[in-house]
């Protein structure tokens, strides 16, 4: 998938590129509104990540023009302004999602995946996971045809780990995903452990879950 990162902070844009490249996205960078407009006219993108505070213009004003040239693309607004009007204006102008800075790159990818499923029908089918299969769209997990009951948070946790498979996710990253702004750093780490224990217990009655690894002192990883 092709991504245009419109971000004036060069370091931040570079880090985003590094991360997304590993997840097999192709990235173009634009540090100004002018450069972004040029890219949008020249290429077709699947994702356009748009920072609102650009040195030569407001990111929001770029949106209608971009939509004309790239109507199929998914737009995610990234901003440190974080005020409500921007969010509403952005979504009104046709943005698909909105992420307030500072955001986790894991969260960004998770949002992009969700949009991809919704918009481009990617991963709409079930995804295999050991002897199980996971449907991210309907949010069910199956052993053969047997549907297994997981709580909302347990499923969130599992699908987040699955999305970032082969990467160790820290307890903090996991609790931030599950509880968002309500996460209380160290305080919630135990609950991540408790949820993982529950997931293992529920799944182990059907088949082994050795793909779900505990990385000592760090967190958890799904290895595939």
């Amino acid at each position: 998938m092709k991504v245009l990162i419109i971000e004036d902070e060069k370091t931040l844009a570079y880090e985003m590129e590094t991360f997304l490249k590993k997840a097999f996205y192709l990235c173009d960078l634009a540090h100004t509104a002018a450069k972004a407009a040029e890219c949008i006219e020249m290429n077709q993108y699947d994702f356009i990540l748009l920072d609102l505070g650009l040195p030569d213009g407001d990111g929001l004003s770029l949106l209608p023009k971009a939509k004309k040239h790239n109507p199929e693309a998914a737009y995610i607004i990234l901003t440190a302004r974080g005020n409500l009007e921007d969010k509403i204006a952005g979504l009104d102008l046709g943005a698909d999602d909105y992420l307030a800075k500072p955001f986790s790159l894991l969260e960004l990818q998770s949002r992009m995946q969700a949009i991809a499923r919704r918009k481009f029908n990617v991963n709409a089918e079930t995804v295999p996971l050991g002897d199980f299969s996971v449907n991210l769209q309907t949010r069910f997990i199956y052993f053969q045809v047997q549907q297994i009951e997981l709580s909302r948070k347990e499923f969130d946790l599992l699908s987040y780990l699955l999305l970032h498979k082969n990467r160790v996710l820290t307890r903090m990253q996991l609790s931030e995903h599950i509880w968002g702004t309500f996460a209380d750093d160290d305080y919630d780490s135990n609950y991540i452990d408790a949820h993982i224990k529950n997931i293992r217990k529920k799944l182990n009655t059907y088949a082994p879950t050795d793909w779900l690894e505990t990385v000592r002192g760090v967190g958890y990883r799904i290895r595939k």
Binding site: E9, T11, L12, E15, M16, T18, F19, K22, A80, R81, G82, N83, L84, E85, A100, K101, P102, F103, S104, L105, L106, R167, V168, T170, M172, Q173, E176, W179, T181, F182, D184, D185, D186, Y187, D188, N190, Y191, A194, G217, V218
Partner: protein, 446 residues
Amino acid sequence: MKLSVKLIYFITGSKIAVVLIFILSVPFLVERIASEYTNYSLRDQQKKVMNNVRRHGVGFYLQGDKSYGSYTMLKEEYIALEPAGPGVDMDTIQTEERIVEQDTLNYRVLSYTFRAGPNRYLLEIGKTTGSINQYNKPLQRIALYVLMGLIAVTIIIDLIFTRILISPLKEIIQTKLIKRKFPFKEPAVPVKTSTGDFKYLDQSLIDLMDQINVDFEKEREFTANASHELMTPISILQTKMENLLAEENISEATTMSIIGMMKTLGRLKKISSSLLFISRIENAQFARTDQIKPAKLIADVLEEISHRMEEKGLKLHVSLSDDVTLNNVNQDLLFQFFYNLINNAIKYNVEKGSISISDHRGRSGYSIVISDSGIGIAKEELDFIFDRFRKANLGENVGYGLGLSIVKSIAVYNGIDVKVASVVGEGSKFTITFGDFDAKITRGKP
């Protein structure tokens, strides 16, 4: 006590005092007046007698006798003319006793010697003092009545006048001090008055409020800018660390220190976003147009937070009526509001403690009471618990000291009243009162 009441008390008191002094001094005054008058009339009679003597000679009175005397029927006045001894030379008016036909009476006596022909004579004219004082009592009574009547009338006038005079002060207190709610959004209207002092007071208050507004604006702007400027570098650090953590060939020690850094960064992130959140609330960036059922909202909060409650083995009692709807609030803000309060009730609770959430309707509005069996808050800390970065309870999980500041900002913004009562070692009780609400069915009915 109100100024108008004080003024009326003072005016009435001083008037009554003046009247009393006057009434009490009436006998003395009357005596003075009477004695002046008596002296005057004695002199007048003396003049008449002397006129007669000059015109007609002493013989006009003496008629050949050696002396002359006459008194009125009730001996209230007398007149006597007799030869004066040698060396007697008088012109006085004195109060003296005289015996008239065996009665000893007090007279005001004019004694005057004069020469008529070869002889000198003594003229005495007397008037009883008793007749002078007889007017005292009725005079006092009448004066009392008249003055009391006058006092009543003037007090009514004073009442009306002081009311009018003081009314601008009342208006200043009403409009500037009681009704104005911080932050002062609409400009203050000066109170119309011709009294200079009130004008000055009013203008000073307006200036003060403007100054507070300016400072408040500055602080708000600073918080927003500072938080915003912090977010970008935090973003960069966070993404860098995340990428670093994903590197294949880093040692375990490096991994651990990256995780440590991420935790610290997470704290910085949390503080900045909390400050930004507070400044957004104070900037009125949230619409207050939602209608929410508190019972439902609190159930959502409890679901979000139940894992923390379970871990501590807390008992929870919730008793909220389903039929109450809160008007003109912001759902997200209220969620955060109750989340923070209930989170604190859990965080500062003891193992196997309890939390109780109940509601009631009173005269002041609809109240929700959240009480816990926690460690409580010391009395001297109670006033400061809503201050930013204030941490009253220094336990292990003290947080950032912004949770209750957020609660307060939301409360102020949504017009919610929050009261706290607490006993150290027994627990805390937060009473949250909403003024704007609807309740259709009475409580207890299905």
